[in-house]
Amino acid sequence: MTSTSEKPAVNGVNVEALLGARNALGETPEAGKFTWRATNEWLHGTHSRSSVAGYFGLGEEHEHKASFGFESDHPLVFAAEDNAATPVEIVLVGLASCLTAGVAAVAQNRDIQLRSVKATVEGDMDIQGILGADPDVRNGFSDIRVTYDIDADASPNDIEALVAQSQKRSAVFDILTNPTNVTVQVS
């Protein structure tokens, strides 16, 4: 359905603030440097709990409204207790959440009213990699597919363009499609 409304779109994204921030950063690019953080603690077996409480950005420390908790475990087929989603599923959650936020923001900026946005994410993995059974098989995903089902006041082409632009500006899409230097050390 693509009826056009005269009213401005309301998707709940404060685009003016985001555009204002982009302009402000042109003057003070240092403020754009953020450091995101999480802590993680082993509970038992493969079960662990992470929390996300604060981050650095705009030149100062910030605290989230609350300390957000995430649990992770391995599934029963790995002879684990399945207390929570696996870490790789949380990565898929991160990708979908990031792309959906992007869809909403871009739609707002393009004055497209969203009614429903649903995504399904699938990641293929051959566990011969993590088991060390075959060195030619990578540990991580071999392929990730995201399917969006979007109902909005826009043409199918405009919806396609929304999703494409969301990928272009997505942090998690970039994280998954490009390498990152990772340092892990023991304190």
């Binding site: 060390g132 059974a133 060195p135 499609t177 490009n178 390498p179 230097n181 340092t183 892990v184």
Partner: protein, 414 residues
């Protein structure tokens, strides 16, 4: 044509097998696709030297007797050594004969060559462990302007185009090629994945002397925790030069070679490198530390502390703060890619149900149990850690001929 054992391949391993077969009076023939030591003659780059010192060049019945035991043979010296061994062993030999297939034939085998068919109850494959260079599938995505080669086509730096060179792989082959190409004025970027760091000498002796003396080289395939992993360990970062120099990543960095992470893929005409370089280097540093601990403990136990040099540890591998994760070939002037990404053995010509889903031969320490009378020698960690070295052939050949002789009711070589 009939014989008791067909040995495919007349390199040092096939000749060592021949030595023991003769000792048991087992009738046999060696079939060689080219000349003796063929892969040494045709598949090695110009400057290559053995990474094992001359004193370690020993095969059953012959040991190095020249005047430079601590030196390293070049390719022509290796060929001469193996030719001399062939004259000593004096096998029945069919050169310039290509084996096209090996098939089951009743209780024995039919070895089909381009110069006739042999029938034998037993077959030993001594065709080397480095038949096919392994190149990642994404190599086909290289921009058209880039020249690429494997160590088998590589001859010397002057044969490469002028300009930058990306050497992929930091095992023995990769670090040796990186060093000489960089020295030729072609700036080298070295993509580093899993690797084995070793100093050329430790406490006054060659590192391989220690591996020999401490028994590490004799460790058996049925004694290690994970033989699959042990067989995949890449060749150590060693080079055989008269000055006995160490050629680890720090040495290459000092010479101006730039290190990047494992070559992971090509996107938009750019090479992408893994962000795992620091971890790969830390793993290799830790593993080197464990090797040196083992050597120090052995020296302690043997009470040799006063007789050898002092213990020391080497500085950690230096990794720049943010190694590049992508390089544009054109922008960085990279004209050539050298795939030093390993080799695999070719068993595709075996017309026998003995290969796994990846075309690898299933065997138990060189005994192909599923196909009685069939044997393999000369693969990485076949029976011992030293199996792929020249001096590793002796024990393996003796064990396998023992097994073969018992199978056909012949007396063991003893």
């Amino acid at each position: 044509m009939r014989t008791t054992t067909v040995v495919v391949g007349a390199g040092h391993a096939g000749l060592a097998v021949s030595h023991y077969l003769s000792a048991c009076s087992i009738d046999h023939v060696l079939i060689e696709r080219g000349e003796i030591a063929n892969s040494w003659r045709t598949e090695r780059w110009d400057s290559l030297t053995l990474l094992t010192p001359n004193w370690q060049a020993r095969v059953p019945g012959l040991a190095y007797d020249g005047d430079d035991p601590d030196g390293f043979m070049d390719v022509s010296e290796v060929v001469s050594f193996i030719e001399r061994y062939a004259r000593l062993v004096g096998p029945s030999l069919e050169t310039r004969t290509n084996v096209e297939s090996v098939r089951q034939n009743g209780a024995g085998y039919q070895v089909v060559t381009d110069r006739g068919v042999w029938h034998a109850p037993t077959v030993v494959l001594a065709t080397g462990g480095c038949n096919i260079p392994k190149v990642p599938a994404f190599a086909t995505d290289l921009p058209g302007a880039i020249t690429s080669c494997t160590p088998m086509d590589y001859s010397n730096p002057a044969a490469l185009p002028d300009g930058g060179v990306l050497v992929v792989g930091a095992s023995a082959t990769g670090v040796q090629i990186a060093e000489e190409v960089h020295a030729s004025g072609r700036p080298v970027t070295l993509a580093v994945g899993e690797h084995v760091r070793m100093p050329r000498t430790y406490r006054g002796k060659d590192i391989l002397w220690w591996m020999d003396r401490t028994g590490l080289h004799d460790e058996r395939y049925d004694e290690v925790d994970d033989i699959k992993r042990a067989r995949r360990v890449p060749a150590p970062q060693l080079v055989g030069k008269p000055e006995r120099t160490t050629l680890d990543l720090n040495a290459l960095t000092e010479q101006g070679v730039r290190l990047v992470g494992r070559f992971a893929g090509i996107a938009d005409g750019k090479a992408q490198f893994s962000g795992s370089l620091r971890n790969k280097c830390a793993l290799a540093d830790l593993k080197l530390g464990r090797l040196l601990d083992t050597i120090d403990e052995w020296i302690d136990d043997e009470g040799l502390d006063g007789e050898v040099g002092p213990a020391c540890r080497f500085p950690p591998t230096r990794v720049e703060d943010s190694p590049p994760l992508a390089l544009d070939f054109a922008e960085h002037g990279i004209r050539t890619v050298v795939w030093a990404t390993g080799f695999e053995a070719d068993h595709s010509w075996l017309d026998l149900p003995v290969l796994d889903h990846k075309g690898r031969l299933r065997h138990d320490g060189g005994v192909v149990s599923e196909s009685p009378g069939l044997y393999r020698i000369g693969l990485n960690f076949l029976r011992r850690r030293k199996s792929s070295f020249i001096h590793g052939a002796a024990d393996d050949a003796r064990d396998l001929v023992d097994h073969l002789a018992a199978g056909i009711g012949a007396p063991a070589p003893g």
